[in-house]
Amino acid sequence: MSWLRRLFQELAPAPITSVGTGFSTNTIATPKNEACNRLKLVLMHDRTQLSATMMETLRDELVEVISKYVEIDKDALELNLEGESNTIALVANIPVLRARAAS
């Protein structure tokens, strides 16, 4: 199923949150440029690293908010920081069980 999820992620128009990089990307594939581009991406990751407890809190609060509107499978919820071509995306995969009845 992971290939399916990946496919949908790729098709998804925009991630939930994305952090601008502020870095320009070099295009010609010399070892120098490769090093620069790879480093910029790695450092974006390193610099946006959330601590385990922050991630846990974020997850819990997300569940709380979303659960107001839809019933979700809390245990299957996935939340990750992922590197795209030149952005970092907070990618959440939240399986929905059913919508809440309108109150």
Binding site: P31, N33, A35
Partner: protein, 278 residues
């Protein structure tokens, strides 16, 4: 060096030399900047905080003169003055060696602060050589520092670790100034786009440059001799370190032209023109 005579009331600048990654040239940089400053007449104390893996003594050629070490001082087995090893040539330069048979936990942040407070009144510069890593040893090394020199090579892993270190230095309020020494630069590889250049590293790390050291076999030779390369008058790396020492002392020194002279003759000519301008 720490004697009863305390002529100046001015406090020493305490500068930590650090990198995150091991093997990028922290100890070499500490030895050479320290020796460079001492050659200019400043009173300098070098502190090796790499407890268990001491090496600064080797680079200074002082390994046979060590009696006491930093742990002996903090555990009060000797006085600070007894542990300081005087340099072979420069009487205004001394080394406080690390303990070799202990580990990083033998020293605490509080002990380091106390120790450096004692040295501060007696020297112009206290250079603290930090161990690799970001754990206890690093915390000890930065404990009393107000300035930092980040050593890095133009390699991905070194730059990544330097970025982490810069983050930690930024988080420490007492450190008001930190700059980069880019070590082991190979101009010929930069020319062929096989290596990141100086501007790449400065942009990625958003840090100011203190100086650039070329990859130079003189460094290996000088280590083998126990004589910092800064003392080798004809060495390019030595010249680069002499310039850095002057910048640390506040002088405005133009950067060396490292554009690799490819032929022997060019190299000789290059050295000739450099020594005239230096």
């Amino acid at each position: 060096m720490v004697s009863a005579k305390s002529s100046s009331k001015k406090e020493a600048r305490v500068i930590v030399v650090t990198s995150g990654k091991g093997g990028v040239g922290k100890t070499t940089t500490t030895a050479n900047i320290g020796t460079g400053l001492a050659r200019m007449g400043h009173k300098v104390v070098l502190i090796d905080t790499d407890i268990g893996l001491r090496n600064l003594d080797i680079l200074m050629g002082l390994e046979n003169r060590i009696v006491y070490n930093i742990v002996d001082v903090v555990e009060e087995r000797c006085k600070l003055t007894q542990a300081l090893v005087k340099d072979k040539r420069l009487p205004n330069l001394s080394l406080l060696p690390a303990a070799q048979t202990r580990d990083k936990s033998a020293l605490s942040v509080e002990q380091m602060k106390k120790l450096i407070a004692q040295l501060k009144t007696e020297a112009d510069f206290v250079l603290v050589d930090s161990p690799a890593g970001i754990e206890q040893g690093f915390q000890n090394a930065i404990a009393a520092a107000t300035e930092a020199i980040v050593v890095c090579t133009p390699e991905m892993s070194a730059v990544r670790d330097a970025d982490r270190i810069i983050g930690l230095l930024e988080a420490k309020e007492e450190i008001t100034n930190y700059k980069l020494v880019l070590n082991r630069v190979r101009p010929s590889m930069i020319k062929t786009n096989d290596m990141m250049d100086i501007d790449d590293v400065l942009e990625i790390l958003s840090i100011k440059l203190l100086g650039v050291i070329p990859e130079d076999k003189d460094i290996i030779v000088s280590t083998n001799k126990g004589e910092p390369v800064v003392n080798m008058d004809e060495s390019l790396a030595g010249q680069a370190y002499r310039n850095i020492a002057r910048r640390v002392a506040g002088e405005d020194v133009p950067y060396l032209n490292l554009d690799a002279p490819l032929t022997f003759m060019e190299k000789v000519m290059g050295l000739f023109s450099r020594s005239k301008s230096a």
